[in-house]
Symmetry: C2
């Protein structure tokens, strides 16, 4: 039986999980890989820190040179987050002739092209299943299992923290601040949850998926994004009344005008696969021209789900599948032409609007008149009777439109916002079925 | 650019779909495979039949020898259904040194061990993504993407015809016969739908998945199965009232006593991923010890979804990934020890019972008394008031139990069935959450 020496850089939550599978489930891994995967070096910043796994003291060090200088180590799981020193370490490992497995989405979203070009030049490979959607093997499914298809649509719930927070608000009526506190208590949110709740994390993952599925060479920071920070319980309740739930949705869709890309809170119909994704789960729905609709659902984060994805990559690389795929697909290649991004104004879609207006005759006629001028057709409308005791607060109006171009929707919204009888900021969200 | 010559045996629905992708989407396939896949031979029974694809007349023949004798053909899509001549053709192709891609689940469920052993002996490979769940890439996901996991549970809706029929009954209140007619009209059911509705098709697919996920060497005909032929609208309505839907579920689960395997109509909770699978869709929910719950959903049949799976295998084989996986996993190897199947009586589960009883004092006390004797605890019970005009028809009782061993449940059911006050056959189904 062949043996492949493996090293790990970074023994945080995910690294410890990978180390545990490699050491505790060694027989299983050998059976599924057809060869033994032996963990021979682990490099950490602080060798004295207590870890979530039992490893022989002598394989742990703070010297990357122990990996770089060991020609027997063929595959390295690079599990440090952030841009630096992760980026430099990746280059050092590639230069030392190692195949790399990583979970670092921010690094790939930012430096994918130079890293992949460098790996190609040296005949090495980079695997990154764990960088998007945790335990859901979405990378391999797009790269390999759906390879006969032109993917035409990809919609994902890619940030489990946000989905947990919104599910808490929806289920228990907690407001945003309380739901964030609950997520932090349960370990689903960081002390500073900004990157999760403002859509940054989802946009970075979408940039990676959009590259794989559509060949889009887009920087994550160019993807229009809106987060869940200002999500109001009122909108969750109205959505429920209309038969929808609100999800932070990452969308990449081919339209006649090019590729539509955005991350935003979106109304998703109850009873559809995406509409039923609750709590800290992630999900990706894909439409391919041959396969039709396929849908993947699983835990998007957490130690062992993410370790499952890293291990799948380690096994694929040990077996040799990763290298074949890597050579075949030329990911993030400078030679590849990028798909055209479409003009956001030309993106067709349905919209949800919530407005607060003065409660006097003619207001609804004025609003619906503006929509009519912009050729926007109303699919449903809610206006509840106002308790006279609160009539000074104005009347709440919720409008759901049929399909319209976003540009027209924005123009109409601006006109309505400018009306004297409209109070507060109009809330506008996308709607998908 | 390298070119790989491909042949197809059998130009039915799926074969025509594969031929269409190979010829009409040749650039895309080349890009995703890193080499050109050229369709050079197609063997059919009747060369004069009109087909659903445009192919040069000269590549179509009824002579298998044109594939066998062409050393340039490296990969063959064998797309004939049934056991013979499919089995003989598979052996001939392997003997001629071809790697094979097939969609024939019945053949694999029946002759997997001899076919795979023969391929191994000759250093060839067999890929079979399209044999289970159509467009859902469940084979690759189990073999490769979840390879770090001990899978502990697999639950699938593997027969789209049955799921369509039950969805029709549920949604529109059609009875079984009408729903079958509707399925036939829409092309979801064969003229003789027996294999689909009696659970045979699902059991064959479950035998393949149980082998991959658990190493179970079980013949499909040994898997306990019940179909949907005698499903009554009354049960769909009661299930709905309890918050469940009925699905033909294929289950493989590791229990303390061994592997539990069966196919049967099962109550699945509304709002869970499996509970929301409607119409002709398939789905598979898997629990792995690292990844947790993952769920896959897509079209389980149809020309292009199945062709998508066959094409993924053709590309994997052209790239070389299939061969690596095939050599690594030793599928259906005689050397591999099989997991122990558990005693059906020892399988724990929840159950749904529907009984028709005489409407007189003491009946409910007698029934619940028998359940108590067998230590069966009741989770919910429905008894609706009977219209006096129909009181001679007896009273309908629906009981949902907490978890109990199937043996105890069967004993209790037999005792209750034997009571004088019980009319008709008691309906018993499993329940999952």
């Amino acid at each position: 039986m062949k043996t492949i020496d493996i090293a790990i850089v970074g023994l945080g939550t995910v690294g410890s999980g990978v180390a545990r599978i490699l050491t505790e489930q060694s027989d299983r891994v050998t059976r599924h890989a057809g060869r033994r995967l032996r963990l021979t070096q682990v490099v950490v910043r602080d060798v004295n820190k207590t870890r979530d796994c039992q490893l022989p003291r002598e394989i742990i060090s703070d010297q990357l040179s122990r990996i770089i200088g060991d020609p027997d180590i063929q595959v390295v799981a690079q599990l440090i987050g952030g841009l630096e020193p992760a980026r430099t370490i990746m280059f050092q490992l590639l230069d030392a002739g190692k195949d790399i497995v990583t979970a670092n989405k921010a690094l790939l979203a930012e430096h994918g092209p130079e890293l992949f070009d460098h790996a190609r030049k040296l005949g090495r490979s980079i695997a990154f299943e764990a960088s998007v959607a945790g335990g859901i093997p979405i990378i391999t499914n797009i790269e390999q299992c759906l390879s006969a298809n032109q993917i035409t649509s990809l919609r994902g719930i890619l940030n489990g923290t946000s989905n947990f927070i919104v599910s808490q608000m929806e289920g228990g009526g907690a407001d945003y601040t309380d739901a964030v506190a609950e997520a932090q208590e349960r370990g689903y949110a960081e002390a500073d949850p900004t990157m999760d709740v403002d859509g940054t994390d989802a946009a970075q993952k979408l940039a990676i998926l959009a590259h794989l599925a559509f060949g889009a060479r887009v920087r994550w920071s160019e993807i229009p994004k809106m987060g869940i920070q200002s999500l109001d319980l009122a909108d969750l309740r109205f959505a429920h009344e209309l038969g929808y739930r609100i999800k932070l949705l990452a969308v990449a869709e081919l339209t006649d005008g090019g590729l539509e890309l955005h991350v935003s809170p979106t109304l998703v119909r109850v009873g559809t696969p995406l509409g039923e994704v609750r709590g800290a789960y992630n999900a990706v729905g894909i439409v391919g021209d041959a396969v039709g609709r396929v849908f993947f659902h699983g835990l998007g984060a957490g130690q062992m789900p993410t370790a499952s994805a890293v291990m799948a990559d380690l096994i694929d690389t040990a077996v040799g599948r990763t290298q074949l795929t890597f050579r075949t697909l030329e990911l993030w290649s400078q030679r590849e032409a990028s798909v055209q991004l479409c003009d956001p104004d030309q993106v067709p879609g349905r919209f949800y609007l919530r407005l607060t207006a003065d409660d006097h005759p003619g207001v609804l006629a004025d609003i619906t008149g503006v929509l009519a001028q912009h050729q926007i057709s109303i699919a449903s409308l809610i206006q509840h009777e106002v308790d006279p005791a609160f009539s000074t607060e104005g009347v709440l109006l919720v409008i759901m439109t049929h399909v319209v171009n976003e540009g027209s929707m924005n123009n109409a919204t601006r006109s309505i916002q400018g009306m004297d009888s409209i109070r507060d900021q109009i809330i506008k969200m996308r709607v998908v079925d």
